[in-house]
Amino acid sequence: MLVRLKNVSKRFGDVVAVNQLNLEINQGEFLVLLGPSGCGKTTALRMIAGLETADEGDIFIGESRVNEVLPKYRDVAMVFQSYALYPHMTVAQNIGYPLKLRGVKNTERQEAILKTAEQVRLQGFLDRYPKQLSGGQRQRVALARAIVRRPQVFLMDEPLSNLDAKLRGKMRAELKHLQHELAVTTIYVTHDQIEAMTLAERIAIMNQGVLQQVGTPKSVYNDPGNIFVAGFIGSPSMNFLNGELIDGDFITEKCRIQKVGKGSHGDVILGVRPEDMKMVVSGQSHLEAILYSVELTGDQTIVTAKLGDDYFTVREDKEYEEAIDQHVKIWVDASKVFLFESSTGKRIRFN
């Protein structure tokens, strides 16, 4: 592994930003740190960069422990959310700055700047100043400045969050391609789970300073370890229902879903993804609810139904049509539901 965090903790006053974090990132891997704002993901990244010092634990880059090493000796490059371009330097000077500081000769430096500018498609803009560039171009300058000196690790702190939706999608693809091309270990922080799912080789999900689960996008989506991961990953997010598990059946006052597990378990929470539910007119159904809203997104319809105080989101195809406030029936795919302990939020597994 290239980057290793061992029992790393960081406190700001009374707030524990990062709590006993253990994480290993492999050579050449694209790892995404995902979590809601304030979960400690940026603090973790800044500790790897050396912009914050860890209160406890060890941070390794390669073979060496870097806890006390100054940022500039860690051989990492960082792209900031705000881009952090030097406004008084041209694009070429911005990109060349890290090389200049390392004493790279002028001719070599110009060569490297040109090559990097080509990689991020900024050839025609080298003489401009940051204020003369669009948001996407500034983003590319920041990226170029990070890759120009071939660091061991790229650190990216929500680099796409200041771009508009369309550009963000485009830059995401570019970023993924670039990382593949350069094959440099990348740690990427985001709160956007779509970004995480699409970019990552592995996702590390954090909440309140604690690492919740690490795994491939597929595994965290299909096999969430706890209720937080289950609810955070997926859009629209997973539906939850409080009830009891009795003899393998999930039972609440208003519904009964058969054969969701084995045995009895007292208070549990049932989780089911919107695509694992279906609106039915006749035949077997599990829930009877009142239609709350119907949203057509183009390729699909997001249907929300209300049962008591609970709302359910169902992913339907684009042909679905029904009037609001109608009574509707919902069928649940019992083979694809998840069960969690009410008290701890831990996943209940049956095999």
Binding site: A49, G50, L51, L70, P71, K72, V76, A77, M78, F80, S82, Y83, A84, L85, Y86, P87, H88, Y97, P98, L101, R102, Y129, P130, K131, Q132, L133, S134, G135, G136, R138, Q139, R145, N162, L163
Partner: protein
């Protein structure tokens, strides 16, 4: 369909949001023109007076040279030829002292201001009080008990360090950067008049009276709080991201300060430099005490024209004109640095 506008609408109502109605326009320009006259008239009066003979000045107001009176260069001749070196020396003194003071104050002050915005200092209140106490002890020992000052300072410092390492560990309450900044600016609460005699005695002891050094040291000390206070604000506006980025790119703290932060704080530097320069250039009171002949500055020379025969307005005018010109020139040069928007493009999209 063409909409008719009545005469009063045409005169008083603007056509679009940004436009100004014709009548308002006329009024605005009248007010602006009047104010320009008010501002420029004293300068004109200086020039006119410098061309008058004493008899013209005493004969009541005369406005137009060549019509009201016959212009004469006698005052200019007196200042430049008759006084000669006695004009040149104060002039050079002023230039030298003001420039040196402003440069030193801005360099030291901006570094201090930067440190106060980026480094969190937590000096213990107890340690500061302890230091003041030992200094008082030293003074008492020297003045009251006739102890040699070298011994007093050495043993005082030793005592302070000893106490700091033993008792000092117990101190809890500490000050913050804002307290330090406030302490600095509070040095300006005291009017300079209050301390001008101690300053005089101080420089007398050091044998520095009537030297450039005395003036420069005093001006730097007096103006440092202003520089620190102003520059702190300018550095605050430089995004920390830029500095963090530079530190990851491989820059040292000094390098970051000189290649990233200072260039971005240029408008602040220029404005602060100008302010300090003007304050030093026009300073009268401290210069009056600290200089007599060799280090005399221009304001003193101007005041000296108010002699036994009464104020010699014609000479004063010439001196004031030549005193104002360099400051105006520097302001014009520096003005292009005092622009906004230098940080555009640094962060966000």
């Amino acid at each position: 369909m063409k909409k008719e506008r009545s005469l009063s609408q045409i005169l008083f109502e603007p056509k679009t949001i940004d436009a100004v109605a014709p009548v308002s326009k006329v009024v605005f320009y009248l007010i602006l023109g009047l104010w320009t006259l008010v501002c420029l008239f004293p300068l004109y009066w200086l020039v006119v007076t410098s061309l008058k003979l004493p008899i013209h000045v005493n004969d009541g107001p005369m406005y137009l040279p060549g019509i009201d009176f016959k212009p004469s260069l006698h005052a200019w001749k007196y200042i430049f030829v008759d006084l000669g070196n006695d004009t040149l020396r104060p002039y050079l003194n002023t230039v030298l002292v003001s420039l040196a003071s402003s440069v030193i104050a801005v360099v030291i002050g901006s570094m201090a201001g930067y440190a106060l915005t980026r480094i969190a200092y937590r000096p213990k209140l107890g340690s500061i009080l302890l230091f003041i106490l030992t200094v008082i002890l030293m003074i008492v020992a020297v003045v009251r008990f006739g102890l040699a000052w070298q011994i007093a300072v050495a043993s005082g410092l030793a005592l302070f360090i000893l106490l700091l390492t033993t008792v000092g560990r117990r101190f809890r309450k500490s000050l913050h950067n804002t307290d330090i900044a406030f302490f600095m600016i509070s040095q300006r609460i005291l009017p300079p008049v209050a301390v001008v005699i101690p300053i005089y005695v101080l420089f007398q002891r050091f044998g520095l009276l009537d030297t450039h050094a005395a003036l420069v040291i005093t001006y730097v000390a007096v103006n440092l709080p202003i520089v620190v206070w102003l520059m702190r604000d300018f550095f605050d506006s430089v995004p920390v991201d830029l500095e963090e980025s530079a530190s990851l790119d491989g820059a040292s703290r000094y390098r970051i300060f000189f290649t990233i932060v200072l260039p971005l704080a240029k408008p602040g530097l220029a404005a602060t430099f100008l302010l300090v320069l003007i304050l030093c250039w026009n300073e009268y009171l401290i210069a009056l005490f600290l200089s007599t002949a060799n280090a005399q500055t221009l304001p003193l020379l101007v005041a000296a024209q108010n002699a036994t025969r009464g104020p010699q307005w014609w000479y004063m005018s010439v001196l004031i004109i030549i005193m104002v010109v360099p400051v105006v020139a520097i302001t014009v040069v520096l003005q292009r640095f005092i622009t906004r928007g230098l940080l555009i493009g640094a962060v966000k999209g």
